[in-house]
Amino acid sequence: MAEPLLRVRDLRTYFYTENGVARAVDGISFEIGAGETVGLVGESGCGKSVTALSVLRLVRPPGRIEQGSELIFDGKNLATLDEREMRAIRGARVSMVFQEPMTALNPVFTVGDQIAEVVRVHNAGSKQDAWARAVQMLETVGIPSPEQRATEYPHQLSGGMRQRVVIAMALIMNPALVIADEPTTALDVTIQAQILELLRDLQQRFGTSILLITHDLGVVAETVSRVIVMYGGEIVEEAPVNHLFARAHHPYTEGLLNAMPRVGHERERLATIPGSVPPPTNWPAACRFHDRCPYAWERCATEHPPLYPIAKGHVSRCHLADEPKRRAEKHDPLVVARGAST
């Protein structure tokens, strides 16, 4: 396979707080190839947003990317790159789309200004050039009357339009990789679909790789070619998207899939995963999911599972890969048995 665009090796990002060390990202490794769209899935608190911020080195104190983490991009390790070079990469080679369009834009500058700023900050054009490109970009992301809109302020635009502006900002320098952190979560469902379609279009047009971060499996199904599932600061499963939906291996993924309300599937109650995500200052011992897992047995509480290969391109961090027969012994998860409160 060709050299991957981004290779993450053993990324660990810890937060040093008054309550202890929060191991938000605790040793994850994955790759993104050129032109690929990869989904990063998990509930809140699993570390996916922190992963995104880590790639761009946007993690602020008391957070810190730990030594030994590798983020290889363009032959350089982003984790140890000096700030000046990092800045050259941000927005130009790797850019980010954030979750909240309502607050992601500076309220006192025009939309056009903010998009053009990306160009000017990277010394890629004069003021007029930058503005012209910004207007053009607005058109590309599907905003009508772009020349007019460019002179407007964020509060004059709807949520969906603001998100398009944010995407325009992310793509104007034609980056190799765009990290989209829950780009549609704050939007109405119909707008969600539009934004996702926009992302797909742009990806095809410009050949950009996308790392799409979300907690919504439905979003993932539509857009990505490969899925990475995170839990407890670790990767617990990785698979091509069809595989994941057809034959998820890890019990957590299974739980997520079951929890998705699906049209056509009759059910009395929405299935949930009992218990709640543990705090990153205190990950459970051994398998981090074991107290919420319906299949767990003694080994799970004592031995930390590695990523077992399941099939081509499919790995899972679960001992069930080693002892598949245990899948038949379904039971109430420990957290329920203990009566632990959610």
């Binding site: 800045r87 941000r90 927005g91 992601a104 834009l105 500076n106 006192v108 500058f109 700023e117 900050v121």
Partner: protein
């Protein structure tokens, strides 16, 4: 937007009218009138005569009516102590106060904003803690006392700057223009220094709080993610949005600046509106003092209007 401005203008006019009303009644309701001072063997008949001449024996409401009409004509009465029309006395003094207060506002805000930003970006550092302590100390100095100490130190003890007034009373007229300018500036230094010293703390603290509020915002993070250098993130993105509440603060602090001017002008013998007010006490100059209150308030109202305009220019969200 024009409608908004017109509305604000209308509001301000109402406020000015209210101010005149309040001033009139509050001052009148205080015990005593210009002719009731103790001491000096002036028989009551003479006092009554003067009361009659100035209309103080008429019913209060009628006096109020006449007063309002007079004010609208620009006639603020006659100043006993200065032997002239109150309006011309004030017209002479007001620009000097505007100069001093204007410069003080500019300086204290410029320094205060910079200090606040630096404190916020270095939160928790020794710089933050020490500068906060120093600023709180200066903030706690009474205006007049700070002015006195500065005058004492820099003008008397160390003879670095002139002790009083706007220009040198003896030689100014004989100097060439550039020397005159130097003289004016030299006379400005100490009063400005005193003024800024006691007001900068409030500005800095507010700015610091505003920045701490804004720095974790999403759009600040977006700016970083775009590759904007940290300086630009702080001074261009974060500060710009923090200026909006600072302008509001400016409007709120104006009365305090004018009040401070009374003491500072008195200590440094700066012949502005403030020292008019300060002197009027001793001289019991009723008309003058009433007028200073009203004029001072008008300055505040106008200042607030200008602050509003500035805010509209700075922040598009305000321009509904």
């Amino acid at each position: 937007m024009r409608r908004q401005l017109a509305a604000r203008l209308g509001q301000s006019l109402i406020v000015v009218v209210l101010v005149a009303t309040i001033s009139f009644f509050v001052i009148r309701l205080a015990p005593g009138d210009p002719f009731s001072f103790a001491g000096e063997n002036i028989p009551f008949s003479v006092r009554d005569h003067w009361r009659h001449v100035f209309g103080f024996d008429k019913p209060l409401l009628e006096q109020f009516g006449r007063y309002v009409l007079a004010v609208f004509r620009g006639d603020f009465g006659y100043s006993f102590s200065r032997k002239g029309d109150v309006s011309s006395v004030i017209a002479d003094a007001l620009p000097r106060t505007i100069l001093l207060v204007g410069l003080a506002v500019f300086l204290s805000f410029a320094i205060g904003i910079a200090a606040g930003v630096l404190q916020a970006t270095r939160r928790g550092s020794w710089f933050d803690r020490v500068s906060t302590g120093v600023l709180v100390f200066f903030y706690s100095l009474p205006d007049f006392w700070a002015a006195l100490m500065i005058l004492f130190l820099f003008a008397h003890r160390w003879r670095l700057f002139p002790t009083a007034g706007i220009v040198d009373p003896v030689s100014y007229d004989y100097w060439p223009p550039w020397r005159q300018l130097v003289d004016r500036v030299a006379h400005l230094v100490l009063p400005l220094f005193a003024f800024t010293l006691v007001t900068v703390a409030a500005v800095a603290r507010f700015q610091r709080a505003a920045m701490l509020e804004i720095l974790p915002s999403d759009y600040v993070r977006t700016a970083r993610a775009k590759g904007v250098p940290e300086q630009g993130v702080v001074w261009r993105h974060a500060l710009r949005t923090a200026l909006t509440p600072m302008v509001t603060l400016l409007g709120l602090m104006l009365p305090a600046y004018l009040g401070g001017a009374v003491f500072i002008e008195k200590v440094f013998d700066w012949p502005g509106l403030g020292s008019l007010a300060a002197d009027a006490i001793q001289k019991r100059d009723y008309f003058l003092v009433t007028a200073t209150v009203i004029v001072g308030s008008i300055v505040v109202v106008i200042g607030n209007l200008m602050a509003d305009l500035l805010q509209m220019a700075l922040d598009p969200r305000v321009r509904e």
